[in-house]
């Protein structure tokens, strides 16, 4: 199964794993991105995520399709959570399955790197003093990706 979606509730990790698992596969890789309690030496208390929903859904589906073609994968599930998340919560889950582990590891890495690079989702960190700031992973000029 190939499916991707944005969710506003906690990610059902068991369902993500189950939907990527079939008896045709000998390897399943599950990647979870979770909310860390510090960033750039600054204590973080929570995060909130927002997205350009339609475009984010399109980009996630494109990435899954690209990974399927590039690595010969039939089973990929990607879920990204939006809204306010607590420390330790999973913000993203990627499950990739393949008959053999090599392709599964490679495809898993490809999916999460592409997601971080081009899916229009933003995160704002909440700090101990009550302030909030949008995270800018680039801090510099960004090139425009083209399809």
């Amino acid at each position: 199964m190939i499916r991707t979606r944005l969710v506003d509730q906690p990610i059902d990790v068991a369902a993500v794993l189950r939907d990527a698992s079939t008896t045709a596969n000998g390897a399943v890789i599950l990647f979870l991105g979770t909310v860390r309690d510090v960033n750039d030496d600054r204590p973080v208390t929570a995060l909130d995520y927002s997205a350009y929903r339609g475009m984010a859904e399109h980009e996630m589906a494109s990435i899954a399709q690209e990974a399927a073609e590039r690595f010969g994968i039939n089973d990929i599930v990607i879920e990204h959570r939006l809204g306010e998340l607590a420390l330790g919560d999973a913000s993203v889950a990627v499950a990739v399955a393949h008959p053999h582990r090599g392709a599964a590891f490679d495809a898993s890495r490809f999916v999460i790197e592409e997601l971080k690079h081009r899916v229009p989702i933003w995160k704002r960190e909440h700090y101990v003093d009550g302030t909030r700031e949008w995270v800018d992973p680039t801090k510099t000029v960004v090139e425009v990706p083209h399809e």
Partner: protein, 80 residues
Amino acid sequence: MTVTVLLFASYADTLGASALDLDVDVGATVEDVLGRIRRMPGADRLPATPLLAVNERYAALDRVLEAGDEVAVIPPVAGG
């Protein structure tokens, strides 16, 4: 003709709006729309080459717009 401009996250905060309608000339490009946005208060905080999209797909500056198009100015993405 009218196009809709969407702003998100830090750009929405900086420019004080998340969506606005702009009247532009027929044949206007994404670059023309960006030029209009750059005249808004706070726009000096936008980068030289922000990410741009038209109708939910990444687009280049020379993309010619049609009436009703949705142009998005996209801050550096931070998913994952």
